[in-house]
């Protein structure tokens, strides 16, 4: 775990990353864009209860008899956010049959899907859902999630200190982080012709029509605010308006080619764009096929987010869910997950375990950010409902939608 690589653009580091990281696909967030899934989602939402769970529940009775009382554990997570071994290992260790689905593509979209049934106290046929901090906060406030049973969660002691008390869930009663990631700048040096260091590089007229930003409001507004010298942890409406005005101007001038979910990754790989606001783990995944691509945390700072595991309040298999949460909070198991999905673990000792199985990756600043990088990471302010609507309105106007 050398702290030598203080500069994430270090060539040597990137060479190491390329070796360390298995080929991963592109799509973590939605490749479909927010719109793509709406049709499907509303249909699903309309179906309410859903039959999939029932069908899955009647699965392998031999395995089920061993644990879980014949019930299947159903987990919803973001795409490409886990290694291949953890689920089978968990099934073997506990005898709980597990159905792990990568069906969360966008916080707002997923919320639209589960909001109605949870409001009516109906099951959403999932034991675990994984959503970003602000959305986790919304679900907790709405009373949609069940408290975690600490008696069944001895590994909670392994939760790293800096996320033990978060504003949206003091004491972590309802949620624990799955993994965390950073939002910074991904770019293709061949197309930019130079190394980038600043957020404001994305507004360089030389890159006109070759820049993408994220549809995730907190990521895009947060980074642009940092570029304006404002602090996203204390974002005010005026700050958001200033950032939005800058974004709007760039959009109208044609500087910004698109606002994307995860699909920026394809555009970056295809050479359609030169610079993108990008999530840290994605660029690592792309680097396997496109060794030129870089991800940096700009000198002004980068955004930090966590995605959190939660149990819906209507769930009747909470024991299975707790077994899973406790399992992945074992440092060994967490390290294995990170080895397949290079993001930040919130489990104490996972770094040391990762060093044993993937030493190169363990020293990467993306999995283990050095102190100077940590100091530049910001978590967007926790917004009230009214603020959330206001900020989103400002943002949607800026992105022209």
């Amino acid at each position: 775990m050398s702290r030598r690589q203080s500069d994430p653009r270090d060539d040597e580091l990137h060479a190491l990353l390329r070796q360390a990281i298995n080929r991963r696909g592109f799509i973590r967030r939605t490749a479909l864009g927010a719109g793509g899934l709406v049709l499907g989602n509303s249909l699903l939402a309309a179906c309410g209860g859903g039959k999939e769970g029932a069908a899955a529940g009647g699965g392998d009775s031999a395995a089920a008899a061993a644990g879980g009382g014949g019930k299947t554990l159903r987990i919803s997570n973001w795409p490409l956010y886990i290694d291949k071994q953890t689920v089978p290992d968990f099934e073997k260790a506990t005898g709980i049959k597990t159905e792990y689905t990568e069906d969360i593509n966008d916080n707002s979209e997923f919320f639209a899907k589960i909001d109605e049934p949870l409001k009516r106290n109906q099951s959403i046929d999932r034991e675990i859902i994984v959503l970003t901090d602000w959305m986790a906060g919304r679900l907790i406030k709405l009373g949609y999630v069940a408290p975690l049973d600490d008696a069944k969660f001895p590994n909670k002691a392994n939760l790293v200190d800096n996320v033990k008390d978060v504003s949206f869930d003091p004491g972590r009663k309802f949620s624990v982080p799955w993994l965390s990631g950073m939002t910074g700048i991904g770019y293709n040096p061949k197309k930019t012709g130079r190394e980038l260091t600043s957020i404001n590089d994305i507004f360089d007229p030389k890159f006109k029509g070759q820049v993408t930003m994220l549809t995730e409001m907190r990521d895009t507004i947060g980074l642009v605010m940092l570029g304006l010298g404002k602090d996203p942890t204390k974002a005010t409406v005026a700050d958001a308006k200033a950032a939005a005005a800058k974004i709007k101007k760039a959009r109208e001038s044609g500087q910004i080619r698109k606002f994307t979910g995860n699909d920026y990754a394809e555009d970056l790989a295809a050479g359609n764009i030169a610079v993108a606001l990008a999530w840290s783990g994605d660029i690592q995944g792309l680097a396997a096929d496109n060794p030129n691509l870089r991800w940096i945390a700009p000198k002004e700072g980068a955004m930090l987010y966590s995605d959190n595991m939660m149990i819906p309040k209507t769930d009747d298999r909470q024991d299975l869910a707790m077994a899973w949460i406790n399992y992945v909070y074992d440092p060994k198991h967490s390290a294995q997950i990170v080895a397949g999905a290079p993001y930040l673990s919130a489990v104490k000792g996972a770094g040391a375990e990762l060093a044993k199985i993937a030493p190169d990756l363990a020293s990467s600043s993306l999995v283990n950010p050095p102190d100077d990088l940590r100091a530049r990471l910001h978590v967007f302010k926790a917004l009230s409902d009214a603020e959330d609507t206001e900020f989103n309105r400002i943002f949607q106007d800026a992105i022209g939608a």
Binding site: G35, S108, A112, K258, A401
Partner: protein
């Protein structure tokens, strides 16, 4: 085919109502009820009831006009491509008719979304389409297709083309061939026969086809989102974002109603111009 239902038994008088009952029920549950809910939502915001409508009309005029423009462009393109094809299938295809109709419908075997995604690949900056157009000097060396108006209108045209072709085909198909022969017997040239006999008789198909293309194209939000830049976003994307991201339900609902009103007016005007009362 004349009706003989004037017989007067109680059952036969009820029969028509029984036949339309499932359809009416469906419309009540899945159209009328949601529309009423939507109407309630649209006036449920803070402030006076028309507050959301004010914002919808005040801030999103650009998106409405853009949507109408794009949809109109796509409809005209689909007509220009679809009519000759439908004509060929109906009059000239012979034994190939069913095969060709099958090919027209074939794209529906893959989802809308995947088909639109495919266009992203085809229109890529480094892709074959851009390369070819640059070689032909139609496109500037630094030019692009993806994320432009051309891509969005092209995508709309592609996705709704079958809805244009099929109704036109149906109306051409049922034209009595002897009418064309009669016209030619009366010394009209093939072109005149087409203009005076075939075209007027196929207008109902053209009317239906244009509506089936224009209406969904106006409200479409996938093509603009996948194939356009932020400066090509259509009203459908705005409504979707207001519902899912901003969660400003009154605004989203009132935008939907304004869109419905605009489309209804457009369609009425179109029906009047075309004057096809047999469609009613």
């Amino acid at each position: 085919m004349a009706g003989t239902a004037s017989g007067g038994s109680r059952r036969s008088r009820l029969a028509p109502y029984l036949l339309v009952a499932p359809g009416i029920l469906w419309l009540l549950v899945f159209f009328v009820a949601p529309t009423i809910t939507l109407a309630q939502t649209s006036v449920s915001g803070a402030g006076p009831w028309y507050e959301a409508y004010g914002r919808a009309l005040g801030n999103y005029g650009v998106h409405f006009f853009r949507s109408l423009r794009y949809a109109l462009g796509a409809t005209l393109l689909a007509l220009a491509m679809g009519y000759p094809l439908a004509y060929f299938i109906a009059f000239r295809a012979g034994r190939l008719k069913n095969l060709l109709l099958g090919l027209v419908v074939l794209p529906f075997f893959t989802t809308f979304l995947v088909r639109t995604f495919a266009w992203k690949t085809i229109l890529n900056d480094g892709g074959p389409a851009v390369w070819l157009l640059q070689q032909l000097h139609i496109l500037d060396p630094g030019g692009r297709l993806l994320d432009t108006t051309i891509a969005v209108v092209g995508g709309l045209t592609y996705n709704f083309l079958p809805f244009m072709i099929l109704p036109i085909y149906v109306s051409l198909e049922k034209i009595d061939r002897r009418l064309v022969e009669a016209a030619e017997d009366l010394y009209s040239t093939p072109l005149e026969a087409f203009r005076k006999v075939v075209l007027p008789l196929s207008l109902p198909g053209v009317f239906a086809g244009s509506l089936l293309t224009f209406i969904p194209a106006t409200g479409d939000f996938i093509n603009a989102q996948l194939l356009g830049s932020p400066n090509q976003q259509m009203i459908g994307t705005v409504i979707q974002n207001q519902f899912l991201e901003v969660r400003d339900y009154p605004l989203a609902a009132s935008l939907s109603f304004v869109l419905m009103a605009v489309i209804t007016l457009g369609v009425l005007a179109y029906a009047r111009v075309l004057g096809t009362e047999e469609l009613a």
